[in-house]
């Protein structure tokens, strides 16, 4: 029996013939919050897409398991059913597919028959309220004509409705104003306090430490050039805020 967790070991990933990840080791334990920080282009989103199975991301070597299950052997839908969730930085618009129908299909796929339709609707309205979303959202086409903030709120609504075992939030904070960011924090914290989401492990990918004021990380990693360059506690995020990534990069070069 393997230990629970989203365990990534020596992961090397290539995108369009270009090696982006050069050996990632990282474990997200159930119920814990890991922040993954780093400058633009360091490979953070690549890790998110490789773990969720985007076809353009080629695994060169290494492993990724979810509570012992080999993630990399699974198609994207099976990874989701195993309990993995990615909040997209740029979610696709799907005209003609209504938010409520999509959420219902996703919930049924991930947690079959767990909610009768009336309960589902009630739950949906509750979670939308936490995120400051008007019920009219349910009848809109998925991300079609949504503002940046509306898209991010919808990603958070999906997170709340699916209550996955492990959630990767890819730059959910980017482009959000203070009010929206606070709503995201409230929603995530409500999930973490709920029965369904008590054991959800988080990997929060972010460029700025801002979101971490709302969702407090247990562990902070800094990724530079496709490697985890530094791991520390919440204080590391504050240091990045003060000093920027360049000092850390120099420190690592000096150490090598």
């Amino acid at each position: 029996m393997s230990e629970p967790g989203l365990r990534i070991e020596r992961l090397h990933v290539r995108v369009e013939q270009k090696q982006i990840l050069n050996g990632i080791d990282l474990t997200v334990e159930p119920g814990r919050v890991h922040a993954l920080m780093g400058p633009n282009g360091s490979g953070k989103s690549t890790l998110a897409f490789a773990l969720t199975g985007h076809p353009n991301y080629e695994i060169v070597s290494g492993t990724a398991t979810l509570d012992g299950e080999d993630l990399l052997a699974l198609a994207p839908d099976k990874r989701a059913r195993a309990g993995l969730f990615l909040s997209f930085q740029y979610p696709s618009a799907i005209p003609g597919v209504k938010v409520a129908n999509f959420l219902h299909a996703a919930r049924q796929a991930v947690r079959p028959d767990s909610l009768p339709p009336a309960k589902f609707r009630q739950l949906l309205i509750e979670k939308m309220d936490v995120l400051g979303m008007d019920p009219s959202f349910m009848g809109r086409y998925l991300n079609d004509g949504f503002s940046g903030g509306e898209k991010k709120r919808l990603e958070m609504l999906q997170l709340a409705m699916l209550a996955p075992k492990y959630a990767i939030l890819d730059e959910t904070d980017s482009g959000l104003d203070v009010d929206a960011l606070r709503d995201v924090g409230t929603s995530v914290n409500a999930l973490r306090a709920s029965d369904e989401g008590r054991n959800t492990g988080f990997l929060i990918i972010t460029h700025y430490p801002r979101i971490l004021q709302y969702i407090r990380p247990d562990v902070v990693h800094v990724m530079i050039d496709g490697r985890i360059a530094l791991t520390g506690d919440a204080e590391l995020a504050n240091r990045i805020e003060r000093e920027g990534y360049d000092t850390i990069r120099e420190e690592i070069i000096a150490r090598a």
Partner: protein
């Protein structure tokens, strides 16, 4: 020549029927094969047998209430409502450039006539259902909306017998300020051939909204035309088709702005699966002098198999200089990023493809007048996408 003297002479005299049949025989279809994948040559179709058996079918017209409203079969209309009938029959068709409209005209007998008097509104949709019961059928729908009248008409085309050939005409005459919502759903057996011509001629400040769904038939050839001869009129045209199996669907819309201050919006959502072949030709013509016309055309084509084809061809011909014309088109398979997004939520690839494909039609489906009709269309589309 068929014995046209045995046809109803009040709908159309034998001499005019003969002339129409001759015109059918001599008029080219103007629908050459778009490519070698297109298996059916419209100009080489076999129309023999019309002489001996022009065929027939049934029409059912839902009961309608409303002051002075008439909804009767075509022969009754020609007999009992002579003046009203003459006010509409052939008026929207005009010179009839369409080869197949001549064919239907020659044999026009079974059909429906709907008349809404001036200023009368009919809320419930008027349902006209055609059922093909023999080898050939030529149903004719004629709608006349008087000044300021309002109505919704839903036409359905079905067949019970194999290998039928259907020619149909729908003619919508809206007088000044009238508003007609016309929907046509073609759900014939998949061995039928159908040639449909639908024409609207909106009067001054009139509104025509129509929605067409071509779901069945082995071969479906349709022309949807709006001719603006009066200012202030507007038309919304939504069309969808989805050839699967080895179906061929060829839809042309002709939007003719002959006078200015007229507005048209055309939306075409077309998909093809299996060996399905489709062609959508969206013609918009704005005549010289038709200033302040406003025309938009949006056509999207979705290919769901490697062997399916759709030619989606917009054609804007603008002779006036102070107009607004918009056109946007896409052709392609289901977007990989959309698929990845949906599967990343646990939805299987098959289910995701089905949801995306059905969603693709929604902007056209929403133009159909009742939720029951929209659900019927969704059900047929869902069975085709599965």
């Amino acid at each position: 020549m068929p014995e046209f003297s045995r046809f109803d002479q009040r709908v159309l005299g034998a001499g005019e029927r003969e002339a129409a049949l001759r015109a059918f025989e001599t008029t080219p279809s103007h629908r050459g094969r778009p490519g070698s994948y297109w298996k059916i040559d419209l100009d080489a179709l076999d129309f023999t047998g019309l002489d001996t058996d022009p065929g027939t079918g049934d029409v059912t017209i839902s009961p309608v209430s409303g002051r002075g409203v008439i909804a009767v079969d075509l022969v009754t209309a020609a007999r009992d409502h002579r003046d009203l009938f003459a006010r509409a029959f052939g008026v929207a068709l005009g010179a009839m450039p369409d080869k197949f409209a001549f064919l239907t005209r020659a044999f026009a007998q079974v059909g429906a006539f709907v008349y809404i008097p001036d200023g009368v509104s009919v809320d419930d949709p008027i349902a006209i259902t055609y059922r093909t019961t023999s080898a050939r059928f030529f149903p004719y729908t004629l709608v006349l909306a008087g000044a300021g009248a309002r109505a919704t008409v839903v036409e359905r085309l079905t067949s019970d017998v194999p290998d039928t050939m259907i020619g149909s005409i729908a003619e919508i005459v809206t007088e000044s300020g009238a508003s007609v919502h016309f929907a046509s759903v073609q759900d014939l057996r998949d061995d039928a051939r159908v040639f449909a011509t639908r024409v609207a001629a909106p009067g001054r400040d009139a509104h025509v909204s129509w929605a067409t769904a071509e779901l069945g038939a082995a071969l479906c050839v349709t022309s949807n035309d709006v001719r603006f001869d009066h200012a202030g009129a507007d038309a919304h045209i939504a069309t969808l088709f989805f050839p699967t199996g080895s179906q061929h669907v060829d839809v042309v819309t002709n939007i003719q702005h002959n006078v200015g201050n007229s507005t048209s919006q055309t939306v075409a959502k077309t998909a093809a699966g299996d060996l399905g072949q489709g062609r959508f030709l969206g013609n918009i013509r704005i005549a010289a002098g038709a200033q302040h016309s406003n025309a938009s055309l949006r056509d999207d084509a979705l290919l769901l198999s490697k062997h399916a084809h759709i030619d989606s061809i917009p054609a804007l011909e603008i002779a006036a200089n102070d107009v607004r014309a918009f056109h946007g088109a896409t052709v392609g398979a289901i977007d990989d990023e959309q698929l990845f997004y949906m599967t990343s939520r646990g939805i299987t690839r098959d289910d995701a493809e089905r949801m995306i494909a059905l969603g693709f039609f929604e902007p056209a489906i929403e133009h159909f007048p009742t939720e029951a009709l929209r659900e019927q269309i969704r059900t047929v589309l869902a069975a085709k996408v599965a």
